[in-house]
């Protein structure tokens, strides 16, 4: 039995040595490094190395030239708060969110669902004339349909009634 194992190991040694010698004749010492480098370079070019989520930049979709085309702004009538230190959903520092708001329905192109969006005004600071003004007003009706009329300063129910800008906040599914 021991002799059998010895013979097997000797053959294995021989085969391994033959393989290594043959490999050394065919490949240069640096070829491993060269091939690994090529593989890494190819992967970096053809596959994104870091994961990223395009939705993180969805608020700028529609192009920087037309921020009003972002889907949540479908029924907005006002200045965007992003231009004065706020965001899509938060009022700029020094302003307060309106107690009453205009609520509309907008369709999200990413999932095809309709969402209820509350367009709250930010109050208590003068508006910035150079800020982006969006006047989409989807679903608005003229003033004689008072309940469907959006051309209103929604800061009217706040102590500070001065209008500054408007946020677009998702408040639910329009199911």
């Amino acid at each position: 039995m021991t002799r059998f194992i010895d013979r097997f190991l000797k053959r294995l040694d021989g085969a391994t040595e033959a393989n290594i010698r043959s490999s050394a004749r065919r490949n240069g010492r640096r070829s491993f490094l060269a091939r690994t480098g090529m593989a890494l370079l190819g992967a970096a070019v053809s596959v994104p190395v870091l994961p990223f989520d395009r939705r993180a930049f969805a608020s700028t979709e529609g192009g920087a030239a037309d921020p009003c085309s972002y889907w949540r702004h479908c029924a907005i009538d006002g200045f965007l708060c992003e231009d004065s230190g706020g965001s899509l959903t938060s009022c700029p520092p020094g302003s307060s969110v309106s107690a009453v708001s205009w609520v509309g329905t907008c369709s999200n192109p990413d999932d095809g669902k309709d969402y209820l969006i509350s367009y709250n005004d930010c109050c208590g600071k003068p508006f910035i004339p150079s800020a982006t003004f969006c006047n989409n007003n989807k679903g608005e009706r003229p003033g004689y349909r008072m309940g469907l009329y959006n051309d209103i300063n929604w800061c009217t129910a706040n102590t500070d009634k001065g209008y500054h800008c408007t946020v677009s906040v998702v408040v639910g599914l329009a199911d």
Binding site: V103, D114, G139, M146, G147, N150, T156, N158
Partner: protein, 146 residues
């Protein structure tokens, strides 16, 4: 948005139903959010500064008497929206379920009948409803109308 108007007219507008971009919602909850929550709020608490009444400790008592049931069919949110009478009944019942004990539900037929009843100035009519309730020994939440 920034159009100037008299404060009085703004306050009237503020109590109107919030806007509706299309009438796409079908569930009573979604229709409440779409047509009512802009002024009454997601919590049904209204605003004192805006003169919007709160629902808790109020709406359940109001619908318990005849004049009150006529009144709620003429508040700005009901008058100004574009829902059908059946949808108005559903949303009203949703409000009663959320902010009262759920009794006093409306049917479409009752909504249709009561919306046709003339009540005149709804603020003055509300004072009559409050008086009717007071005569029955019921005091409801304060109405923050200026």
């Amino acid at each position: 948005m920034m159009k100037q108007a008299l404060l009085a007219s703004l306050l009237v507008l503020a109590t109107a139903a919030p806007g509706v971009a299309g009438n796409t919602a079908t569930s009573p909850r979604a229709n409440y959010v779409l047509h009512c929550s802009g002024c009454h709020g997601m919590q049904g608490l209204g605003t004192v500064e805006g003169g919007i009444p709160a629902f808790p400790n109020s709406v359940g008592y109001i619908v318990s008497i005849e004049s009150g049931r006529d009144y709620v069919m003429h508040v700005p949110g009901v008058v100004g929206n574009n829902m059908t009478n059946a949808q108005i009944a559903e949303v009203m019942n949703y409000i009663l379920d959320q902010w009262s004990d759920g009794s006093g539900h409306f049917t479409e037929a009752e909504v249709t009948r009561r919306r046709a009843v003339p009540v005149g100035d709804v603020v003055i009519y509300r004072r009559k409803v409050v008086e009717d309730l007071r005569n029955l020994g019921v005091e409801i939440a304060e109405y923050p109308w200026p």
